[in-house]
Symmetry: C2
Subunit: 108 residues, 2 copies
DNA sequence: TAAATATGAAACTAATTGGTTGCAAATGTA
DNA sequence: TACATTTGCAACCAATTAGTTTCATATTTA
């Protein structure tokens, strides 16, 4: 089961968990209190998030604290880079459809 | 079937399609040539991307050109904003687990 | 030591996913 | 008009997903 950061954030519950533990580490029980689902369901989400290294955990007594690995979140931003180049320059104002058709015409 | 931008980019094929048409609009046939899968599979991906408004299309004769709606991509960036605040400030250097435990101690 | 608490894992299920093949509709071309 | 091209849609299928319930293990507490 290959885990992927984009697949991990596809689920709304997982995005909510990520946002929840972003500022401070939390235990599975504490996280589950914020949702309607069972603790076990949260636990499965935490497992998936751990597998793709978006979160890590640390045991303290019988509690296990989960925290966000903020550096991993940067990978999403890195993927967006290629599109930022498009929307940050004024390139977006050109009609790429017209470009495509014109190019095709020129090839004839 | 609720379509969501995060669910849309979860699939690697769809991310590839997005990157492919980012600079210039393309027809389903042209897009499919870049992949191993069938034209119909590409068509289904285009449908999903259209449903969440990440792409739009325009018919020219019997061809249909699909283009990226770059503004919609910004929504991913907007979601990332909350985490950028964390990684851009040096807040990340604080150990949030220690914070949490200390806070808990203080509450006793 | 016994009971309570915190957690993960396994087994099961209904719904969704991503792919396929086959077909119909619309448009362009000979 | 007849035929080729471009496309979307429906039906089907195997794999995956997100949830549940049940159970086992480890740690703290009475």
């Amino acid at each position: 089961m290959r885990r992927d950061i984009f697949q991990a954030i596809a689920d709304p519950s997982r995005r909510a968990i990520i946002a929840l533990i972003a500022m401070q580490a939390m235990t599975p029980n504490a996280i589950a209190e914020h949702f309607d689902t069972s603790r076990q369901a949260v636990s499965k989400h935490l497992k998936i998030l751990t597998e793709c290294e978006l979160i890590t955990n640390q045991q303290v007594g019988r509690e296990i604290y989960y925290r966000l690995e903020i550096d991993k979140m940067k990978e999403i931003d890195q993927w967006l880079e290629q599109f930022k180049k498009i929307w940050e320059t004024k390139f977006e104002q050109l009609d790429n459809l017209l470009q495509t058709i014109q190019k095709k015409e020129n090839e004839k």
